[in-house]
């Protein structure tokens, strides 16, 4: 199997998952698609090396996280290679708390949001997050703590009272 077929297989299998990751990272479908596209282009350019030395999935996820917090976002945006649907479909309407959290996430600085997504969506340890973002563990902890603090103050937790501690 040649490199291009392997790459095609990877994209076919993983593109939807990458889009989901891009969506929680950026908060909107356009940036999600843009991040995914750009990261896949870079993955393709580095494909022989990445396949040899790294795991493509972690490479592309790291690229997306770094792109999202990086200067790339401000400078350049390529037209997507596909059209996005007008209305993203929703199976389950999110609860009020979830909607509030989602809106509050949009107010966080990119790095804080990225740290929270990597910790609570990607389920990475702080050490792994430090590696992905190329920052120190201390920075990860401070971003996480600031970000959670803002979410907590932005979203009063009516459920907290109901979920009395055991």
């Amino acid at each position: 199997m040649d490199d291009d077929s392997r790459f095609a297989d990877f994209v076919a299998e993983r593109a939807d998952a990458l889009l989901r990751y891009g969506y929680v990272l950026s908060g909107n479908p356009h940036d999600a698609a843009d991040l995914t596209q750009e990261a896949l282009i870079r993955l393709h350019r580095a494909w022989p090396r990445v396949r040899r030395k790294q795991d493509p999935e972690s490479y592309v996820r790291m690229t997306m996280a770094r792109l999202h917090i990086g200067v790339w976002r401000l400078r350049r945006r390529e037209r997507l290679v596909w059209d996005l649907p007008e209305d993203p479909h929703t199976d389950v309407p999110p609860s009020d708390v979830e909607q509030g959290l989602w809106r509050a996430l949009a107010t966080l600085p990119r790095k804080q949001r990225a740290v929270l997504v990597l910790r609570y969506y990607e389920q990475l340890s702080d050490e792994e997050i430090a590696g992905v973002l190329g920052v120190s563990r201390g920075t990860v902890r401070s971003h996480a703590s600031l970000g959670l603090g803002k979410l907590r103050s932005a979203v009063p937790h009516p459920t907290a009272a109901d979920r009395s501690a055991p």
């Binding site: 999600a32 090396r49 200067v71 037209r79 290679v81």
Partner: protein
């Protein structure tokens, strides 16, 4: 810390992810096409990058550099458009294949073995002179490890120098002048663009061979170099971010070209703005400035026209009704463009590649000045995929592509020299 908040956050992110857009089925082919087309200096632009095309349809292919226009085209729509529009130039019947390029332009086409003596694959970069090609070999994808002079008559190969670049740094933009090969490296941190502005450095080596020497600059060149030219003892370069500068070939003070703060090198001494990369489908090189004489020129673009890409003397683009045109920069001598919109623009102001209808598929090179066409010989494989050749803006002299065990080399300048464009 509230575990509730963390649990709610996990749930919110998990549920939100389900609202993400879905990937289209052809994403991989589009990504591959765009990846191959992305400029890393002229090597991939003017020299006609070869691009994988899915389904033999010229969809994701007919774009230049990072031009957003072409890949956004809907494949289905393009397929039908190509069938109707890749119709024959006036000299041909629809079903009739053009003669092969080597028959149409025998003095300007070479077929050379696709491997150097010793079995290494190579990638043509540019012409050194009428008979000699500059080639590079790769250590890994697009990462050059040596450059060579290759004599087209006889195939004698001579290594000019080894190239060593740090991880994630690529040599690009090779150009030849004043007895030197000159190129650039852009420190882009292995794809990590979070580290701030990147720095471009320039290098030279005598054509006769030697060790690469850095062309020192009095201050770091912040930005990404896009095009290089050698002129009168100086290196001229433009940045992807805009701006044209010169520096002595021996190193020294970087001097901006007055009035070219937003410009890009098109074909020295012509510099223009916007450059080849036009994110909002603005007209490429609508404004030109002669960096030596100060002469200025603005191309005529009419309301409703799209994807207009201009060279030094001509423009090509799409009319409001979707038909494609080419004409002089001043708007005169407008003609229909066979093959539909030339997203890459015209090479050397007169050449385009046009898709052949399926079957057999493939592409031909068309000279708009003489109306001659030559079949490039490319055919889709069993999966319906084929490469696409894109001569681009800029000096656009070299067209090269692999074909079986050979590399096809076409010198557009030689074709043009045999039949210069006449007066209107």
């Amino acid at each position: 810390m509230s575990n509730d908040l963390e649990a709610d956050l996990r749930a919110a992110l998990g549920h939100a992810a389900e609202r993400a857009p879905r990937a289209p089925g052809a994403l991989s082919a589009h990504v591959v096409a765009r990846s191959r087309r992305r400029t890393r200096g002229r090597a991939l632009v003017a020299a006609a990058a070869a691009v994988l095309v899915a389904g033999g349809i010229g969809v994701a292919v007919r774009g230049a550099g990072d031009d957003p226009a072409s890949p956004a085209v809907d494949p289905a729509r393009t397929a039908s458009a190509e069938v109707t529009q890749s119709a024959p130039s006036p000299s041909q019947e629809a079903a009739e294949l053009p003669e092969p390029v080597e028959k149409v332009w025998p003095d300007a086409v070479w077929k050379i073995p696709a491997e150097l003596p010793g079995g290494r694959k190579f990638h043509p970069l540019s012409f050194i002179d009428d008979r000699t090609l500059l080639l590079e070999t790769w250590e890994s994808f697009e990462k050059a490890d040596a450059i060579y002079a290759y004599e087209l008559d006889g195939g004698r190969t001579r290594k000019i120098t080894d190239i060593r670049t740090p991880k994630g740094v690529f040599a690009s933009g090779h150009t030849v002048g004043d007895g030197l090969v000159v190129w650039q490296t852009i420190d882009e941190g292995d794809g990590d663009e979070t580290k701030g502005t990147r720095v471009t450095r320039f290098w030279s080596v005598p054509l006769g061979g030697g060790t690469p020497r850095e062309i020192g600059t009095d201050r770091p060149v912040r930005g990404r170099g896009d095009e290089l030219a050698v002129t009168g003892g100086r290196l001229a370069f433009s940045l992807h971010e805009g701006g044209v500068f010169t520096v002595p070939l021996g190193g020294g003070t970087v001097e901006p070209v007055p009035g070219a703060e937003r410009h890009h090198i098109l074909r020295w001494p012509w510099v223009g703005t916007p450059g080849e990369y036009t994110p909002d489908t603005e007209t490429s090189f609508e404004e030109l400035l002669n960096a030596e004489t100060g002469e200025r020129n603005t191309a005529v673009v009419r309301p409703g026209e799209r994807f207009v890409r201009c060279g030094v003397t001509t423009c090509a683009g799409s009319r409001p009704d979707g038909t494609a045109f080419h004409r002089m920069r001043d708007g005169s001598r407008e003609r229909d463009l066979p093959g539909g919109v030339a997203f890459t623009g015209l090479a050397a102001d007169r050449f385009e590649t046009v898709n052949l209808p399926m079957p057999p598929g493939g592409e031909y090179l068309h000279d708009l000045v003489t109306d001659k066409s030559g079949d490039l010989g490319i055919r889709p494989d069993a999966k319906g995929e084929s490469i696409s050749v894109q001569p681009g803006l800029g000096d656009g002299r070299l067209v090269s592509y692999p074909l079986g065990d050979e590399y096809v080399i076409i010198d557009l300048a030689r074709i043009a020299a045999d039949s210069p464009p006449g007066p209107s």
